[in-house]
């Protein structure tokens, strides 16, 4: 079995299993903790409505905090959009998703994806530099932060290298790319990258509680 077969076969399979098991484990391990009823008289309906509201509204910054957070927010949004675009609009990826899920959508030209990928890596570097240099971030950062950064950006880098080649065989590069994705999938549920799904739980929880009080969300 060559490297690519290994990557496309057992490695990515195991990674998906780990992702699935780990994510559900973490999610349900949280959701099935005690949920005490709130007996206080609500000011207004909270619950699901409040949860959905905050899941949506917290995507935006309150004007009062804009100035203080604009740099990180712009970088973070660029990173997320960049990852989204490169993952979901690169045609070979779409082909892959179509094969798995059966649905297809239009992609973007490769040079656009390449550019977005380069920007994504650049922004990630800027965020890393900020994490290392900003006193607050340096203090609160731990292994998870740095390793998650590495694991997230690795597939982008291995993807970007593919058209450049550096004299390495395409199969080897593709295999490395898939390995890096597998690493991401395996690491995700056990790290801060789980915020991909936990963000909905934490925002939703706050929304449900505070909206019920009529408090600011």
């Amino acid at each position: 079995m060559d490297l690519l077969e290994l990557a496309r076969g057992p490695v990515i399979q195991i990674a998906v299993y780990v992702l699935l098991i780990g994510s559900l484990w973490r999610l349900l391990g949280i959701l099935f903790l005690q949920q005490k009823p709130d007996f206080s008289e609500p000011r207004q309906a909270g619950g699901l409505r409040g949860a959905l509201k905050v899941i949506w509204t917290r995507a935006f910054t309150a004007p009062v905090f804009k100035k203080a957070t604009v740099y990180s927010k712009v970088l973070a949004y660029t990173l997320h959009i960049g990852l989204f675009v490169t993952i979901f609009f690169f045609v070979p990826h779409i082909v892959f998703f179509t094969d798995v899920f059966g649905v297809s959508w239009p992609g973007l030209p490769n040079n656009v994806i390449f550019l977005v990928g380069v920007i994504t890596v650049g922004v990630a570097l800027a965020l890393l530099i900020r994490r290392i240099t900003h006193p607050v971030l340096r203090l609160i950062s731990n292994f998870d932060d740095y390793f998650s950064w590495f694991v997230t950006i690795l597939p982008v880098v291995t993807g970007l290298i593919m058209p450049i080649r550096f004299g390495v065989r395409f199969e080897t590069l593709l295999a490395i790319h898939i390995f890096s994705v597998a690493l991401l999938l395996v690491w995700l549920p056990f790290s801060k990258l789980a915020h991909t799904f936990l963000v909905f739980v934490s925002r939703g929880t706050t929304g449900a509680i505070l909206e019920r009080r009529g408090a600011k969300t």
Partner: protein, 455 residues
């Protein structure tokens, strides 16, 4: 353990421990003589014992973006990264990871998270108590929607069990539990002060009626420092013509059980009011101008009670807005410019932001909102029990400068608030800085400008 046994160990040396944190020149307090190991164990276990889905989701979804620092008055005023709100929970993450997180088994089995030491907890006493007013401003900036303030309250549960509470806060809480008032206001003192105000202001103040629609409570701060609140409340309620009463067996609105982190005391203190209200058949408990009293009874009371309360709970500003809006109470116009300081627990955390604005509209004042005020208002810096902790004074004064700038920017003639604890802090800082603004009571402004029903 007793409050008199002030077990003041010397401030511990942090310099050798953490490079990024400057050693504060403050002492750390311990109650009792529990062995350190056990203190840590208790702090950890009692932090997580009430952990439900909400708290777990919060601690698990933090991405360490550090934005919460920008919302915290302690960080903004000092620039010291240790005041980053989520960092205040750092040692407690270990407890969560080991005890209640989905992968707790692995954390316990393989010791994945560094063990917390008692020295760290002592250090964190400063972060959990001295430099957090539980104002919840950070909860609004967090992109993950984490309610960090609620986590700090939970952390205090652990700290209390471990006997790692600042002495003054522990002392007032213990006094509140034993004597019924954090400031030593016994029922006898309460009654004396009430009667004094009744005479002084020539107003009928109902006390210990058997039946009443409204049970009115008051904070010890008002009793001792702003007793005019007795008269102001009575004037308003009499003017509306309510059936109401104060009760000697349930008058204290403050809840230092909540602030110090003792859940049992919090329940005891809340139950005094609840029992009294049930006894008089109250339809409403009217809370005084006190921020955390609102949080304790309005939003946590029923959960202490274990079922829905058989009465409504309203802050006096909500009540005033209500009777003014419905026309049951009429006020004269007041011709002055006013700015209003929103108490965190009532407005941002409690949801009653609109009420004071309705009242001020009826008074016809020139309301000049604080810049970035309302729900995003800077905390006065004295909430969450911080004002009681003397060693935190210097920091408190430093942080108050934010408040001063904010108030001064409005150029209003009068500063109002609806929380005696805020007003107390304003007074103290006004004194410290020789500042021109005094925080006045919103309730008193209303009471002083009632339209006499009959000429």
């Amino acid at each position: 353990m007793s409050t008199s046994e002030l077990d003041v160990k010397n401030a511990f040396d942090m310099e050798s421990k953490r490079l990024s944190i400057k050693a504060p020149e403050i002492r750390y307090d311990k109650q009792g003589d529990t062995p350190d190991e056990e203190r840590v164990q208790k702090a950890m276990l009692h932090f997580v014992k009430d952990f439900g889905t909400a708290a777990a989701a919060y601690l698990d979804s933090c991405i360490h973006c550090g934005m919460c620092a920008e919302a915290c008055h302690y960080y903004v005023a000092t620039g010291d990264p240790k005041y980053t709100p989520i960092w205040k929970l750092e040692p407690f993450k270990q407890a969560y990871k080991r005890e209640a997180s989905p992968f707790a088994f692995f954390y316990r089995k393989f010791g994945l998270k560094k063990k917390v030491t008692v020295e760290e907890l002592e250090e964190w006493q400063h972060l959990i108590y001295d430099s957090c007013t539980v104002c919840g401003r950070c909860s609004l900036i967090c992109p993950m929607g984490i309610d960090i303030a609620s986590l700090v309250s939970t952390a205090r549960h652990g700290m209390f069990k471990a006997g790692l509470v600042p002495h003054e806060l522990h002392a007032v809480a213990e006094r509140a539990e034993i004597d019924g008032s954090p400031l030593g206001v016994t029922p006898k003192v309460f009654e004396e002060r009430l009667e004094w105000m009744e005479d002084e202001h020539d107003v009928e103040i109902n006390l210990n009626k058997d039946k009443a629609d409204i049970l009115v409570v008051i904070s010890s701060i008002e009793i001792q420092k702003y007793p005019a609140a007795f008269a102001a409340t009575a004037k308003v309620l009499n003017a509306v013509g309510e059936s109401w009463t104060y009760r000697s067996d349930g008058f204290e609105a403050t809840n230092f059980g909540l602030l110090s982190g003792n859940l049992d005391w919090q329940r005891d203190i809340s139950m005094r009011i609840i029992d009294a209200a049930v006894k008089v058949g109250a339809k409403m408990v009217l809370l005084p101008e006190c921020g955390h009293a609102y949080m304790a009874l309005r939003w946590m009371g029923a959960n202490m009670y274990g079922k829905p309360l058989p009465f409504k709970v309203r802050h006096v500003s909500e009540y005033l807005a209500d009777v003014l809006n419905s026309g049951k109470l009429k006020v004269k116009k007041v011709d002055k410019s006013v700015t209003f300081h929103d108490p965190c627990q009532i407005s941002r955390r409690g949801g009653a932001t609109q009420a004071p604005r309705d009242i001020l509209k009826h008074l016809g004042v020139d309301l000049r909102e604080l810049p970035n005020g309302g729900d995003y208002n800077w905390c006065c810096g004295g909430g969450g029990g911080v004002v009681t902790i003397h060693r935190a004074d210097e920091l408190r004064y430093k942080v108050f400068k934010l408040k001063m700038d904010q108030v001064e920017a409005t150029e209003a003639e009068t500063l109002l608030s609806s929380c005696a604890n805020c007003r107390q802090n304003f007074d103290d800082c006004q004194n410290h800085y020789d500042w021109k603004y005094t925080a006045d009571s919103l309730l008193e402004l209303v009471a002083d400008n009632l339209q006499e029903e009959k000429a």
